[in-house]
């Protein structure tokens, strides 16, 4: 086994960087660095940062593409860190010391974020062990059931991997089902009004309209109870685990895929903020403390590579970093609140400085409480959009080109939020698990203005059918018409519903 520990001069740099970070009030898990050669690093990257994963070809594909990107396109992974306690971070062997230092500062920022951001509060910090356990469990299933069958089932589960409820770790949702599954026989609903002593008062004390309303309410309640699930479910994987006719090993595989999806979810929810935070700290730590005069040019070169934008692309590192700096600046100068918002004089606004110095405090608050959606929603300003040259683009059918659609603040913000909300994934709910009273699964796509990619949707329905084994229905909107797409195990049908 090769020695993967930090060489002495970097170990010294690590101690220095971590001390500086602590002085800046960063608060992080212990970090264990490993220096890997590029093949091992890319292997680990393909595994999502973990040394052991269950056997699956997509890791191989990922590895193949990373390696090709490295060899042909010269793209390099500098850093990788995983959200565990202690955190593991990987450095690429043979990088310059200044690169390694910058990466360590960056990693320190990430680990501080993992530890303190509330969206990570529910993640499993022993995921390293859990991943290894998952691998072992699936390997055992493979040994017992056979590789092809299990691989096929994993493919099926991965196809549904995004059908989870990203917010469920943080709030209590109504259960899929209360424990009163059997509804009493069809007794007619009797609405009892208030007790009436005098006959002539009846219609005044219990007006008929009111009684009718009560009756309807009770009826609806009863209908709801008869429905299954009682409430639309967003965590479709959980619903399948509870109600689909799965074999034990299938249940295990599905559970593993779901667990891992939930583990990775917060990282997707905070990509911009997390990278922005880490970039903020690597640049602060490097430029103010660590980098020597000889190293500063190399650092600047690297840093500009990290935050580079080009070809109209939005770089999450850049966006996060700039937005955090913008917030820091605004809170330092007091550019917020009623007085500032109501100020009409552009010149005055520009020169506004109340000397509050609250910037650092504010961004620490952001790092604790926000995710990408709330971060953008609250802190993106028209001035920022203008300064950073943001725009929205759209596809032009006539020219087969993407073109700039608008530079309006409102549209940009809306589009950005749309792309971030729910991971930029469509909202799909289980509406009825006993559709047509024949155990068919009825899903509803909450249409937000963008259609589903239909070929993928059909293949996904096929996969759902493999698990549910009964026909699958999907209510969605295709080209502005409400449609019900059905798959009965062999054929698709599509009909209009209104």
């Amino acid at each position: 086994m090769k020695n993967t520990r930090l060489p002495p001069q970097l170990e010294a740099a690590r101690e220095e960087i971590e001390q500086i970070a602590r002085d800046y009030n960063l608060d992080f898990f212990p970090i264990i660095y490993e220096v890997l050669d590029y093949r091992t690093l890319y292997e680990t990257a393909a595994f999502g940062g973990f040394p052991t994963r269950y056997p699956h070809w997509r890791f191989g594909m990922e590895f193949d593409q990373l390696l090709k990107g490295h060899v042909w396109a010269g793209s390099t992974i500098y850093e990788m860190v995983i959200n565990t306690n202690p955190s593991y971070a990987y450095l690429l062997e043979g990088n310059e010391d200044v690169t390694q230092k910058m990466v360590m500062a960056h990693v320190t920022g990430h680990v501080d974020f993992f530890k303190n951001n509330m969206w990570f509060a529910h993640t499993n910090r022993k995921m390293l062990d859990t991943m290894a356990n998952h691998a072992t469990r699936i390997q055992r299933i493979i040994d017992r059931i056979g590789f092809d069958v299990v691989e096929d089932f994993i493919d099926t589960c991965l196809s549904l991997e995004n059908l989870i409820d990203y917010h469920s770790p943080y709030i209590r949702r109504p259960e899929a089902q209360t424990y009163r599954p059997v509804v009493a026989e069809e007794e007619p609903i009797e609405v009892e009004g208030l007790v009436v002593e005098r006959d002539y008062m009846r219609d005044y004390i219990n007006p008929p309209e009111y009684l009718e309303e009560r009756r309807k309410k009770l009826e609806a309640e009863r209908a709801r109870q008869r429905r299954f699930p009682e409430n639309p479910q967003k965590d479709i994987l959980l619903f399948l685990m509870n109600y689909a006719p799965l074999e034990r090993w299938q249940h295990t595989v599905l559970e593993i895929v779901r667990d891992e999806a939930y583990y990775f979810a917060p990282q997707g929810m905070t990509k911009i903020l997390n990278e922005g935070w880490a970039s903020y700290w690597h640049s602060t730590i490097m430029t103010q403390k660590v980098a020597s005069a000889a190293e500063i040019i190399s650092f600047a070169d690297l840093h500009s590579g990290v935050v580079a934008t080009g070809g109209g692309r939005l770089n999450p590192y850049k966006l996060g970093l700039e937005l955090l700096r913008d917030v820091e600046d605004r809170w330092n100068k007091g550019k917020f609140g009623k007085e500032y918002d109501e100020c009409e004089d552009i010149r005055e606004k520009k020169l506004w400085d109340r000397g509050l110095g609250l910037g650092r405090k504010k961004i620490f608050e952001i790092r604790r409480l926000y995710n990408d959606v709330t971060f953008i929603d609250e802190f993106l300003t028209p001035e920022f959009v203008l300064e950073n040259k943001l725009f929205t683009f759209r596809y032009n059918r006539d020219t087969d080109l993407y073109e700039i659609a608008s530079r309006e603040f409102r549209e940009i913000k809306e589009k950005l939020l749309f792309r971030l909300t729910n991971f930029g994934q469509p909202f799909i709910y289980v509406e009825d698990g006993n559709y047509n009273n024949r155990g068919e699964l009825y899903l509803r796509h909450r249409h937000e203005g963008v259609d589903l990619k239909m070929d993928y949707a059909r293949d996904t329905m096929r996969n759902l059918h493999k698990i549910w084994t009964r026909p699958i229905h999907l209510e969605t909107i295709i080209e502005e018409k409400k449609r019900l797409l059905s798959f009965d195990g062999s054929d698709f049908t599509e009909r209009r519903i209104d």
């Binding site: 691989e151 070809g311 692309r313 040259k389 725009f391 080109l401 993407y402």
Partner: protein, 367 residues
Amino acid sequence: MKRVDRDLGRFRQIVRGKIKKDLRKYMSHGEMIGRQGKRFVSIPVPQIDIPQFRYGARQGGGVGQGDGDVGDPIAQGDGQPGQGQAGSEPGKHTLEVDVSLEELAAILGEELQLPNIQPKGKKNIVSEKDKYSGIRRTGPNSLRHFKRTYREALRRQISAGDYDSADPIVVPIRDDMRYRSWKETMLPESNAVIIYMMDVSGSMGTEQKELVRITAFWIETWLRSQYKEIDIRYIVHDAAAKEVDQETFYHIREGGGTKISSAYKLCNRLIDERYPAAEWNIYPFHFSDGDNWGGGDTRECIELLKRELLPKVNLFCYGQVRSLYGSGRFAHDLEEYLGNDDRIVVSEIAERDDIYDTIKDFLGKGK
């Protein structure tokens, strides 16, 4: 072995399966030939992806950053400008997979169920090859093996107690000297030559030549996997035949009539001069639209084949491409006179989809 190699291997296997499944399609596409490197062919495979409920990319659009006015184009339709994690996936539609030529041949062989070729009667031919992998105690100074010499000297000094680690001087003497030397290895060898002949008379158009080109590519791929070394010769003919290089072979356009016998004569001379039948596996492939100059020449061709060519070759293949003008007589004549000789294969290539079957006809005999 790395852990990821297991998954990488499986991924490659899946890709291979995809290529195999669509082999007929790939075989009728010429573009693959253009992507041929020295040892690899780059094959575009449809993206292997796990389907999920996802937004259609085009309707959505997204947010970008940079200069430009409203209405300015920023990217091609299929290259969706990405937003990193913030949204749309970068547009990746096809996967470029590098497949080595050996592997491609293996896929071809498996899918078409091609038998391995039994080289004719060459089992005893071996060549000697010298490899400098041995060590001897004598030899010229230019071949002195410094490391081994040094090691011998060190060993001797240590065992004699002359070695002092504080003052590590090692002096080799005559007995310590070691020299590189050769070992003889025997290599069984079989050589093969492909002789492509093509009719370039006026009736062979661009599409016909393309058919020939694609067919030839697959023949070569297969035969290369079967023989260590392969010579390829190109002959074009109309009323007269001449030998040309590869470039000319595929691009030349001549006019005039067709005398197939001219090509067969040239082919025969080539074999006699350069490729004695006892030492070479010989594969002549002839492509034409089947139009020949009158009955006399066809008779001459058949005579030539019967007496000269067929006894010398492993397999003689005649591929007839359909053209607007060709009568297609020649294939019938061959069938009629030589149809029961199993050293000759006649196949008709009417369109690109037939290439698959033609290859199967040509190479399915295992000769």
